[in-house]
Symmetry: C2
Subunit: 222 residues, 2 copies
Amino acid sequence: MNIDSVKSMTENCPIARWRRKKEARPAEILDAALSQFVEKGYRATKMEDIARAAGVTKGTPYLYFQNKEEIFKAIARGTFVANLQQLDKLADDFDGSASALLHHMVAHWWQEVGCSPSAGLCKLMIAEAANFPELARFYFEELIAPSNQLLSRVLQRGIDSGEFRAVPLVHTVDALLAPLLTTMIFSHSFGQLPGCCIGSTKDPLGFLQDALDLVLHGLKNN
Amino acid sequence: MNIDSVKSMTENCPIARWRRKKEARPAEILDAALSQFVEKGYRATKMEDIARAAGVTKGTPYLYFQNKEEIFKAIARGTFVANLQQLDKLADDFDGSASALLHHMVAHWWQEVGCSPSAGLCKLMIAEAANFPELARFYFEELIAPSNQLLSRVLQRGIDSGEFRAVPLVHTVDALLAPLLTTMIFSHSFGQLPGCCIGSTKDPLGFLQDALDLVLHGLKNN
DNA sequence: ATCAAGCTACTGAACAGTGATTTATTAATT
DNA sequence: AATTAATAAATCACTGTTCAGTAGCTTGAT
C-alpha cells in the first residue's frame, strides 16, 4: 500500500512520479530522520539521507521544517511524551508488593521503551548532549528527572511498608536505573557487530530481571 | 596579520613564533585531539580545532598522521592499554575477601579510568561505534570483553569460597559494570549542564561504593 | 666561537569535495 | 485553470587535505 506507492513513485512508474501528501509528510520525515540519526548519528546523516528515507527529495523536508536542527528537536520533543505517564499510572494503580511492581515496571519499560526506536533516541541524546545543551536539558528535565522521581516514590513506598531496608534513596535509584540504561546503550552501540555481545545484549529482558532480582535481594529486610 | 593569533600561537614570546618539536608533536596532537573529540564529538571537531589546541596550524597534524580518521584510531588504540593489566594484577595479588577486592577495584577504576580523560573516550566510542565498526570491535575486544572476564573471575572466586551465593555469572557481571558505565557516561553527557545532576553525578565515588554495597548485599550468602 | 649553508618542521593560503539551504520549475490535485 | 506540493538544479558556506614557501635548527668550515 504505502510502501508500494513509494516504490512506484521513485522506481518504476513513469506516470505518477510523486504524490502530494501534505498531512502525512511531516510524520514520515520525522520517522525517517529518527532512524537515520539513530543509525549514523546527527552530523553524519545528510539531509538527503533523511529525504530519501522518507521517499522524497532534498528540498521537501524544508517545506515542513526550518532546518536540520529543528528536525532533530522535533523528534526529541515528540518522542519523550506519554511513556512516563503510563509508568506513573502503572505505579499508582498497582497494589502488590514494591518488588512485584518494580518487576512489572521493568518489563513494561523494556517493551515500550528499551526495545523501541525511542531507545535509539536516548542513545543519540547521550551522544549529542554536549552539542545540544538546550535539548540535553529538556531531555534531562522531561525524562531523566521524572523517571528518577517515579522510582524514588516506589522505593520509598517499599521502605515505608518495611519491605525494603532503609537504603540511601538517591543512590539506590541510580543503581536501579543503571542496568536499563546500559542495556539500551549497548544494544544500540554494539548490538549490530557480530560476536560483540555481553550478557545484557544476548538476552536483554532476562538480564534486566536478573539484575533487578539481585538488587532487590540486596534491598530486602532480612 | 593578527597580533592576538601570534601571541596565542606562542603563548608569550613575540619573537619565536613556533618551535620545532618533532618528537613531542605526535603526542601533543593526540592529546589535543582527544580533548576536542570528547568535547565536541568526532564529526563536529575540525582539524583546525585539533591543530590550535595542540598549538600548531592546520597543516601540521598531516605531517604526523595520514588524516583525521587515523588520528581517532591512534587515540583509541593508544588509550586502552595498561589500565586493565593494573586491575588484573590488583585482583591476582589481593588476598582479602572478594567483597573487599571489588571495593578496591572500583575505587582504583574510578581514579584511573572513570575520572580521567579516557572516560571521555569511552563515551565517544559508544557514541561513534556505529560509524567506526572496526574500532568498535577493537574497543569491545580489548576493553569490554577483558573487563567482563576479570570481573567474572573475581565473582567466581567469591562463589567458590562460599562468600557469595551461586548467582547467574554473566548477568551479574553486567549488573556490576552497569553503575560504572552510567556514571562515566552521565558525567560526560550531562555533567556540564548546571542543575542537571542525579545522585551518581553529584558524588560519583560515593555512588559507586553504595551501588556496589547494594549488589554485594544481594550477593552474600546468609 | 662564529657564521654561512643546508635541512626540514611548520605555516597558511589555496583547492576540492561535501552538504545544508534556496529557488526556479514541474506536475498532481482541486 | 488555479493552486501548491514536490522536484531538481544552483548556491553558498564550510572543512579536510595539499603544497609552495618560510623560518627555526643543525652542521661544519673557519
